[in-house]
């Protein structure tokens, strides 16, 4: 898993992500997030990297 900054434009992506949820209710937002996770996970592909990302994400505190 990469830990160095890898975005070509972090602020632009952040805005796009938030805008994608505009006008969506809670349920629709959840579905959008789930779809996005699956799409991005397929982009990464590598099982080991995905597992590391899941582990990092799971550290909620």
């Amino acid at each position: 898993m990469k830990t160095h900054p890898n975005f070509t434009d972090a602020d632009a992506f952040y805005e796009q992500l938030l805008d994608a949820h505009a006008n969506l209710d809670r349920e629709a937002s959840e579905l959008l997030n789930a779809r996005l996770i699956l799409l991005l996970a397929n982009q990464i592909g590598d099982g080991k990297v995905l597992a590391e990302c899941l582990s990092a994400a799971s550290q909620l505190n």
Binding site: E30, A34, R35, L38, L39, N42
Partner: protein
């Protein structure tokens, strides 16, 4: 002489249908009834010792009995019932994998299965009206070389009936029957001694005891042996409920496996659809969680479901209905003392992907040659422990895969449903997401990766490919060679053999329990009298070797090991695969 009081002997309880719903009798089918023969043990009181006693005459126990019969190993088979089919003419396990079909071919029932059953290789999965996943097994390389097709659908009682008849046929070829089939015989007690066990058997004519060196528990999911042996299990049960309908009707859907994740005609729940023998369709409907079995299997409900699926003009005959729940379970040790667990007693899987009955058949095929070799003294008793190594790995793998499917089909409420919804939506739009749609991963012959008797390049099943006999007498198959070798190992040597190699193989065949065959291309000269021709290289491909090489096969069609040169490595591989 003991005085038997007829007033205190309880009557033998016939095997009961385990559900009492409307259609358990099975319209249009009359199941066979096998005779109860009072064994002499009851009156004589003698406690006789047998090398092998198989408890349970279902698909697994019968496969083992038939395999042993063909290998010439005597066994007693005890079944509490006197017919095939546990719950009347229920279809139960219907999809038979290529590996199982290859095993049936080796046992001599494949022709009957192929005539009666339905071949298929295409599967489609639908969500709503959209197809979101499909496969054609003929396109997959691990199915292409065998002389058996990827799948045949047939009702489980046909397989069982064919096996019973084949065993009877084999019994007639020897002066004394090799398999002693004892119907209406229920095992009610078990004692483990040092190296053998005593079983108490209850029959309509009274009880008796017998002893066995090897007790094979193929008695199914309600086995008493787990408790008797102190077996530990890992189990998982959910609230998913289904209802099977076996029906004959006036429509003709394509002969493909169709699955709906969300079927509009079934309250957006899942539906499975398969054709079986006798024009009977097998349709599994997913019900609401924790559904009441009697309610969902009423005739009115079943007809309503069928009408919604196939239209108002449907004419249909309901053959059998059965509601079910399922669980998954893996026995942690497949051998405890004298007892070997196989079929559902070894593991229970969720019914998605045909990994239930088929793994029972493979469990039996795995142990049969090992029992034969140990009983004959051509292998060390340690060979029998490889059964656990190999079939426990297979069981664990199959439980894992089917649990994942069950989780997709009955996701936990909340976020698991959201992810499923996301996967289905994406699958409609993008190719990549189709790989997430999990309505069952069809069973394949499991590979053994940490068996004590397989080398690093061993542990894979060899497809039952065809080749040409060296003497020009037509085509043969791998099964023909395995049957010729019986419980001995089979050495296939590919390509040219030097004189010293020929001599080494000749000596090996004299001193070790092996049979050797040279495999050649269409025009290569043969150095060995026993040789076959592999013009398309299919046999070589199926053995996963290239160029000059040897492959060591076991009677269950699995590679024990491969190598390049006929030298000490081959000798060591042979010893290893016999537990020596």
């Amino acid at each position: 002489m003991a005085i038997v009081s007829s007033t205190t002997e309880p009557a033998f309880a016939d095997a009961a249908f385990t559900n009492g719903y409307e259609f358990t009798q099975g319209t249009g089918y009359t199941l066979p009834e096998y005779p109860f023969v009072e064994p002499p043990d009851i009156r004589s009181g003698e406690v006789r010792r047998h090398a092998v006693v198989i408890v349970g005459g279902g698909i697994t126990g019968l496969t083992l009995a038939c395999s042993l019969a063909q290998l010439g190993v005597k066994a007693v088979l005890l079944d509490e019932d006197n017919t095939v089919g546990v719950k009347g003419a229920a279809s139960r396990g219907i999809c038979y994998t290529q590996k199982s079909l290859e095993i049936f071919d080796k046992l001599g029932i494949y022709e009957r299965v192929a005539r009666k059953g339905i071949q298929w290789s295409v599967g489609r999965t639908f969500a709503g009206q959209d197809e979101v996943y499909s496969f054609d097994l003929r396109q997959q390389s691990n199915f292409q070389l065998s002389t058996q097709p990827p799948f045949i659908n047939i009702q489980q009682f046909y397989i069982e009936g064919f096996l019973v008849e084949r065993i009877a046929e084999l019994n007639r070829t020897t002066p004394e029957p090799v398999i002693d089939m004892r119907w209406r015989s229920r095992v009610t007690g078990f004692v483990q001694h040092d190296g053998f066990a005593t079983l108490t058997v209850e029959t309509p004519a009274g009880s008796y005891r017998l002893q066995a060196d090897h007790v094979i528990d193929a008695s199914g999911s309600h086995t008493p042996f787990h408790a008797w042996c102190g077996a530990t299990l890992k189990a998982k049960k959910g609230d998913d409920r289904w209802c099977i309908a076996d029906v004959r009707f006036s429509k003709h859907p394509p002969v493909e496996r169709h699955t709906w994740i969300e079927a509009p005609f079934n309250d957006n729940r899942s539906v499975w659809q398969h054709l079986m023998a006798d024009d009977v369709w097998r349709i599994d409907y997913q019900m609401a969680p924790n559904s009441d079995p009697a309610e969902v299997s009423s005739e009115a409900r079943v007809r309503e479901r069928l009408r919604r699926q196939f239209g108002d003009d449907l004419q249909c005959e309901i053959v059998w209905v059965g509601p079910y729940a399922y669980r998954s379970q893996c026995t942690e040790r497949l051998r405890i003392g004298s007892v070997y667990f196989m079929g559902d007693t070894a593991k229970i899987v969720n019914p998605f992907g045909a990994r239930g009955g088929n793994t029972g058949v493979s469990d039996a095929d795995n142990l049969a040659w090992k029992l034969a070799a140990v009983i004959r003294g051509t292998a060390a008793p340690a060979l029998l422990d490889s059964y656990h190594d190999e079939r426990h790995e297979a069981a664990t793998q199959n439980v894992l895969v089917t649990n994942r499917t069950a989780r997709f089909l009955r996701p936990a409420d909340g976020v698991e449903r959201v992810f499923r919804q996301a996967a289905i939506g994406l699958a409609r739009q993008h190719l990549f997401a189709r790989s997430l749609i999990n309505t069952g991963r069809m069973a394949v012959a499991n590979t053994y990766t940490h068996s004590r008797i397989c080398g690093p390049t061993g542990g894979q099943s060899v497809q039952n490919v065809a080749f040409a006999w060296g003497n020009g007498a037509g085509t043969g198959t791998v099964n023909d060679l395995l049957k010729w070798a019986q419980s001995r190992l089979l050495v296939l040597v590919f390509g040219y053999l030097s004189p010293s190699s020929v001599e080494r193989l000749r000596q090996l065949a004299e001193t070790a329990p092996v049979r050797c065959v040279q495999v050649l291309g269409p025009d290569e000269p043969a150095q060995a009298k026993e040789h076959v021709r592999d013009p398309k290289g299919h046999l070589q491909g199926a053995c996963h070797v290239f160029g000059h090489a040897w492959a060591l096969l076991r009677h269950d069609g699995y590679l024990a090991a491969t190598g390049e040169v006929v030298d000490g490595d081959l000798v060591q591989a042979i010893e290893k695969s016999l537990g020596l």
